[in-house]
Every structure is written in structure tokens, then in C-alpha cells.
């Protein structure tokens, strides 16, 4: 009997692959798509299928949205079908092929020209926009896209020092951004100091707070560090909300002086920028000026970071990320090294914060929520920890992407006039992140470029580079 059962099991196991081979890939894909659609239906039913709205009597009523639900489920099922039929076999074939040794020529060409081209493009960007969109249209493109993205590029690069180089998971980075913004706002409104004086001051104050936080916190590692920095971010925000006499609480601080062009204000009157230079008044001049200020600040951040990476501090940061105990055995004071990383990252956040306050003219605690920290951190993680180019690309995609989502009014024609694309920003955001994490688990640019070389600079594969452990 035992022998019989055994042989039956054997043959059963032997036959199974045959069955799979007999089923056509089409049927398999259909099966796959059906299951995916079913799961999507289950997940989306409560999320999208039902909506609660207040009716005229201010009573919550449940409304159903079957067409939207079913179209989404259909889209997901269809995508899975297309994936299973076309992409999956291609991926399997690609995985089966041996990895090509040398990268194709175009890739190294792109690598060589990408940075100069990108810098040239961002310098010429306002002119390009002015040319193609005109004075009125350009405002949106320079402000919402250009300046907004560059702020996040800068914040990403700043956080990259802490997370990407030193390997310290900081979930409260926005606190230093807030310190910078409030430093500028308070000192400028109360004492009337100029932007260019307060900019470095805000950076110094933020890095001071970074050190202050760092002292007790940096002996913690991994999850503990993450939780405490998260709490610190919240504490700063809650203090800003509650210290009404200083910060004006939720109402925020308004009327923050705007930066001037080396003493010439961007106003419509006779000694304003436009009048002095014989131009017709337009808000675009200030915006373009701000654009170049943040561009210079971002490039400064990048320059300093690249420079620091090649100095002993930068190498010690990376060594710390790789192995803290080995660092100590080599005589490196790891506490000080972590503190410098923290202070350096905080300083750039302070710069960005004071710029933000100067650009907005109004700040409130709303701008410094945890979501902000999470956005900056995901820019760093998606970009590839430690990579300057990767972080910049991730910021452009993530922040540019959300801005574009605000502009997609044509979707209203498809999904009806009540459909608000901005509400789905976060959903798409999440999808994009999941997709990138599947496609490139270590971020867009995961390889590490050595800080020094003897004969040849060889990039280091991602799987060797440690991510740090707090």
C-alpha cells in the first residue's frame, strides 16, 4: 500500500509540469487576469465602490460608484492580462539570458552627457518657458514646476547626506525645514533683517537643532532612531501649533518680507525692479529671480555633498553606513561623525526652509507635516540612496508628477465632472512607488561610485553597498 501511494505521488509530480505546458499561455494569462481582477474588486470595493457624502440635511449617506469601480477593475484585469501575455515571458527570457558584460554604448554616452545637459537645461528653463508659454503661462511653469521641484531636489540632496551617505534613518527631516522657515519668518518680520543675512543664519540655527537632537538620539540605532526622529518632527510641529504668542499657531505667519534683487524690491512702484530696469511690471521677474536663487542653493548643496564625499568626513560617513564597529576600531569617533552628518543635512534643510518662507510670504504648521518628511524620504529612497543624480530624477518625477496630476482636467471628461484627479494623486504616487520598488528595489541609481581610485573608477554593484542600520 505504501509503495502504491509512493508511486502515485511520483507520477503525479512528474505529470504536473506537462499539464502546465499543455495549457496555452493565453489561458494561463486569462486565469491570472481573472484572479487579479477579483483581488482588485475586493480591495477597491470599500475604497472606491462606496462613498459617504453629506446630503442637504447634513446627514451622511452612502453612495455607490459602480461605473468607476468596474472600469478600474477592468483596467487592472486587462493590464494584468497584457502583462502575463507579453511582459512576463519577456522578463523570463531576459532572466534566462546571461547578463551582458559591457553596457551598451548609448548608455555610457547618456551617462557622460546627462549631467551637463541637465544643468544647461535647468539654467535655460525660465527662458524656454517664457518663450513657449508667454508671460502669463510661464508663471505657473516656473513657480509650480521649477521652484517647487528644486526645493525638493535640494531637500532630497540634504537628506541624502543623512540617510544615503551616513545610513541614519531620519523620519523627522521636515523639522529642520520648519526651523529654517520659522527662523526666517520671525526674524524678518520682527527685526527686518534681509534675506541674504537670514539665509545662512537659518541654516546655522537648523544645524544647531540638528546637533541638539543628535546628542541624545544618535546612540540609538535602526528602528529606534527612526521612531525618535519621527517624534522629534512631530514635537517641532506641535510646538509651532501651540506656541501661539510666538508663531501665531495654526493661523501661521503672514506678510513675510520677500527677497529683493540686491536691494531693489520686486514691486510695481517707481523704484521697483521693473521700473529700474525699464521693463513693464510683471510678477514673473520675482519668480524667475527666486528660481535662480533656489537653483543656486540646490547646486550648492550638491557641490558641497560631492566635495564632502571625497573628504575624510564623507568617507567616514559611508564607512559608518557600511560597518560602525569597524569604524570605531580604526579610531573614528562615530558619535561626532554622525553629528556632522545630521548637522550638515539639517543645515541644507534650514536653507531650503528660509527660502520657502521667503517665496511663500506666508507659512503655517500645515506645511511641515509628517507627509512632507515621508515625501522627502521617498525621494531619497526611490532615487537610490547616496546617488545625487538619482535623487534629482526622483524629485522631478515625484513632485513634477503630482503637479501634473493637478493639471489633468481632461480626465473629468472621461470620468464625469465630479471626478477630481488631484484626489487620486496619492494613490498613483503609491502605485509608482510600488512599481519602482519592484523594478529597482535599491532605487533608480543604486550603484555607488567610489570616492577615489588608483587606476580606474569602477562603479560598485548595489548588492555590495550596505544601507546602514541607523
Amino acid at each position: 500500500m505504501a509503495v502504491l501511494a509512493h508511486s502515485a505521488g511520483e507520477s503525479g509530480r512528474a505529470r504536473r509540469p506537462n499539464i502546465a505546458r499543455e495549457r496555452s499561455p493565453f489561458v494561463v494569462a486569462l486565469h491570472d487576469a481573472g484572479i487579479t481582477a477579483l483581488i482588485a474588486f475586493g480591495v477597491l470595493l470599500p475604497l472606491i465602490g462606496f462613498q459617504t457624502v453629506q446630503n442637504i440635511n447634513e446627514v451622511l449617506v452612502l453612495r455607490t460608484r459602480w461605473p468607476l469601480l468596474f472600469s478600474l477593475v477592468a483596467i487592472i484585469g486587462a493590464s494584468r492580462f497584457v502583462y502575463a501575455v507579453s511582459v512576463a515571458p519577456w522578463l523570463a527570457r531576459r532572466a534566462a539570458r546571461p547578463v551582458a558584460a559591457a553596457p551598451p554604448g548609448w548608455r555610457s554616452l547618456v551617462g557622460r552627457w546627462f549631467v551637463p545637459f541637465a544643468i544647461g537645461f535647468v539654467i535655460a528653463y525660465p527662458a524656454i518657458v517664457l518663450f513657449s508659454a508667454g508671460f502669463r503661462g510661464a508663471l505657473k511653469w516656473v513657480d509650480n514646476f521649477g521652484i517647487q521641484i528644486l526645493i525638493y531636489v535640494m531637500l532630497g540632496w540634504g537628506l541624502n547626506i543623512v540617510v544615503g551617505l551616513a545610513g541614519l534613518l531620519d523620519l523627522g527631516y521636515v523639522a529642520f525645514y520648519a526651523v529654517g522657515a520659522y527662523s526666517y519668518a520671525l526674524l524678518a518680520t520682527h527685526f527686518g533683517f534681509a534675506f541674504w543675512i537670514l539665509l545662512p543664519l537659518a541654516g546655522i540655527l537648523a544645524s544647531f537643532w540638528g546637533i541638539l537632537l543628535g546628542f541624545p538620539v544618535l546612540r540609538l540605532r535602526g528602528d529606534y532612531l527612526a521612531i525618535v526622529t519621527l517624534a522629534f518632527g512631530e514635537i517641532i510641529r506641535i510646538v509651532l501649533v501651540n506656541w501661539v504668542s510666538l508663531t501665531n499657531g495654526y493661523a501661521g505667519i503672514g506678510g513675510i518680507p520677500r527677497p529683493s534683487f540686491f536691494g531693489i524690491p520686486f514691486t510695481a512702484d517707481d523704484n521697483g525692479f521693473a521700473a529700474v530696469f525699464g521693463l513693464q511690471f510683471s510678477p514673473i521677474y520675482r519668480t524667475i529671480f527666486l528660481y535662480y536663487v533656489i537653483l543656486a542653493l540646490a547646486l550648492l548643496t550638491c557641490f558641497v555633498t560631492v566635495r564632502l564625499r571625497r573628504l575624510p568626513v564623507g568617507r567616514a560617513w559611508e564607512a559608518l553606513r557600511e560597518d560602525e564597529i569597524a569604524c570605531r576600531s580604526l579610531g573614528i569617533n562615530t558619535t561626532n561623525t554622525k553629528l556632522t552628518a545630521f548637522a550638515m543635512g539639517a543645515m541644507f534643510a534650514g536653507f531650503a526652509g528660509s527660502f520657502f518662507a521667503a517665496r511663500q510670504g506666508f507659512i503655517s504648521p500645515e506645511s511641515f507635516t509628517f507627509l512632507e518628511s515621508a515625501t522627502i524620504l521617498s525621494i531619497v529612497v526611490l532615487g537610490g540612496m547616496g546617488s545625487q543624480i538619482g535623487v534629482a530624477i526622483a524629485a522631478v518625477v515625484m513632485i513634477g508628477g503630482t503637479e501634473i496630476m493637478r493639471q489633468l482636467d481632461f480626465l473629468k471628461d472621461i470620468f464625469g465632472s465630479t471626478f477630481d484627479p488631484t484626489q487620486y494623486r496619492m494613490l498613483l504616487f503609491g502605485f509608482a512607488m510600488v512599481a519602482i520598488m519592484i523594478w529597482r528595489p535599491r532605487g533608480l541609481v543604486a550603484t555607488r561610485s567610489p570616492s577615489v581610485f588608483l587606476t580606474e573608477r569602477k562603479t560598485i554593484a548595489a548588492d555590495l553597498v550596505k544601507e546602514g542600520h541607523g
Binding site: 576600531s329 580604526l330 579610531g331 550596505k466
Partner: protein, 302 residues
């Protein structure tokens, strides 16, 4: 007394307790200038714990760990230093350190005790060359004006970095890894990683080099190369080496002095030949009681 004169490291009554477990029990020994001393013993004897105490990674429960730089005469100040509560005492002709009072990174930076680890701890995602530059961190940090001058690109830093690279190149040449200088350390074969870890420790300019099982996992050829490297370190640089080793042949070939630990207690201390024939050592290694050694030896034909 002549023996004590050129003592570099003096371990006295070192005891390390982990809760109820006494990992090292009242251990005393000395490492002499320019010697290779070996610390041997069965697994779990407490050898790594001794290293961790010497290098400041553990704070000993009891005991005194003295280390001198400069003239042997500085030892005279040992008791005065102990009473003073300070970490070190600087004399015109040398400095005396009490290692048990120093945090790990200062043991490496000021007392200049370098170490390797039983499970190799390189910086795997950094290149071989970068590993050796991180080891010269403190000197480079000073040359870069604690980063300020370095960011501004001062030539003094460029010069210091060049000499640091030259030093790294020397060591890579010595350990046969020059051709792999720009490869990530994590890509090296095991034996090369061991050698790189030793070179990295040497780049900190130590007076005492502590190696935790450097020959573990090496094949006989690599093991012979390692012996040569260690002898070269001792003879050319006049650096003392304290070595943990399992492989008795390595120990017997190169060490000048052997200390044997068993369950945290020192059971023998002396020249390799004397230790090799010590009944207690044989018993500890064979895992039998001391009285039975003769009969077991007869059985296995020693």
C-alpha cells in the same frame, strides 16, 4: 626585571563577567615590544573577550590594562596614573595609557592599538583603496582642517591625501592586492579579505596589532603567506602582534610567546615549545582531565 623592561602591554588581573558567566577570570600576561604573542585556547575560552577588553569594546569588570609608548621607564608611573584616575600620563620620554579607561575609538586613535575581527569587518561596498583611506581618517581629517580647508580645496589636504594613497599603495603591494585596488572589498576572495583587514589595521600606524583568528578559513598556501606577512610586520615595523589562533602550527611557527586560556583561566604562559609540551594544555585541547593525558598520549602515539 630585565623581562619587564621592554613590556609594551601589561594585562593584570583582567576579569570580565557577563551576568553570572565569568568569561575571563583573573588573567595576567605581558606582551613585549617587537614580539608576536599568541593567545590560544579552545572555543569559548574567552580569547575574543580579552581582545574586546584590550581594544575598549568591552569595559572589563576588573583589572588593569597598561600600555606604553616610548621609553620603558614610563612604566614607573603606572601606579601614580592608576591612582590619579586619568586615562593617560604623558612624559617627556613616552606616554602611559590605561586602556580599560578609554573608549574604543580612543584606544585606536591615541593608544594606537589596532585590531581585526573574527568575522571579517571590512567596508564591503567601498573599494579596497577606500578601505585603506578610511583607516587613515584621523590624520587626513586633521590635514583637511576638520573639513573646512578640504572643502575649499587647500593644497595641504591634497598633499596629505596623496601621501595617504601612497601608503595604501605600499600596503596593497605587500599583500598582493594592488591590481584590485579599485574593486569593492566585498568582491574579494576570503583570504584576500583577511589580508586586507590586516593591512587596514596597519594603516592606522599601530604600536600593537591584535589579530582575531587571522588564519581561520585560509588554505595552507594562504596560511603560509599570512605567516610571512606577520613576521614582516614584526621585523620591519617593530610592531608587536597579539594573535588569537586555533591552528597550532601557525602559533608554533611564528610566535615568540604563547598564553593559553581555558574557560577564561590562564593555564599556561611561555615559549611555544614549553607550552606545547604542557600537560594542562594538551588536556584542554583534547578535552580530558590532566591526569589522563599520559595514557591518551600513549594511545594516539605522541
Amino acid at each position: 626585571m630585565a623581562e619587564a623592561i621592554d613590556t609594551l602591554l601589561r594585562v593584570e588581573h583582567l576579569t570580565m563577567r557577563f551576568g553570572g558567566l565569568v568569561a575571563v577570570d583573573d588573567l595576567s600576561f605581558e606582551v613585549r615590544q617587537g614580539h608576536i604573542a599568541a593567545l590560544i585556547g579552545p572555543n569559548g575560552a574567552g580569547k575574543t573577550t580579552v581582545f574586546n577588553c584590550i581594544t575598549g569594546f568591552y569595559k572589563p569588570s576588573e583589572g588593569r590594562l597598561g600600555l606604553r609608548h616610548g621609553k620603558p621607564a614610563v612604566w614607573d608611573a603606572l601606579d601614580a596614573l592608576t591612582d590619579s584616575g586619568a586615562r593617560r600620563r604623558i612624559h617627556p620620554n613616552g606616554t602611559l595609557f590605561l586602556l580599560e579607561r578609554m573608549p574604543d575609538y580612543l584606544v585606536a586613535r591615541q593608544a594606537r592599538v589596532a585590531r581585526t575581527f573574527q568575522n571579517i569587518r571590512l567596508f564591503p561596498g567601498m573599494t579596497v583603496l577606500e578601505n585603506l583611506l578610511v583607516a587613515q581618517h584621523n590624520r587626513l581629517m586633521f590635514a583637511s582642517g576638520y573639513t573646512l580647508l578640504g572643502v575649499l580645496g587647500f593644497p595641504s589636504y591634497t598633499r596629505a591625501e596623496r601621501s595617504a594613497i601612497d601608503k595604501a599603495r605600499d600596503w596593497l603591494n605587500r599583500i598582493g592586492l594592488l591590481a584590485r585596488a579599485d574593486d569593492p572589498a566585498g568582491d574579494l576572495p576570503y583570504g584576500a579579505q583577511r589580508r586586507l583587514e590586516i593591512a587596514r589595521a596597519m594603516c592606522t600606524d599601530p604600536v600593537l596589532l591584535c589579530l582575531d583568528e587571522p588564519a581561520a578559513g585560509l588554505n595552507p598556501h594562504e596560511s603560509a603567506e599570512l605567516n610571512e606577512l606577520l613576521l614582516a610586520i614584526r621585523d620591519e615595523f617593530a610592531i608587536s602582534v597579539l594573535l588569537i589562533e586555533h591552528d597550532m602550527t601557525v602559533v608554533m611557527e611564528i610566535s615568540d610567546h604563547v598564553v593559553v586560556l581555558d574557560y577564561g583561566v590562564k593555564i599556561a604562559d611561555g615559549a611555544p615549545d614549553a607550552v606545547r609540551n604542557d600537560d594542562k594544555v594538551i588536556a584542554a585541547y583534547l578535552g580530558i582531565a590532566g591526569e589522563d593525558v599520559q595514557s591518551v598520549e600513549a594511545e594516539v602515539g605522541l
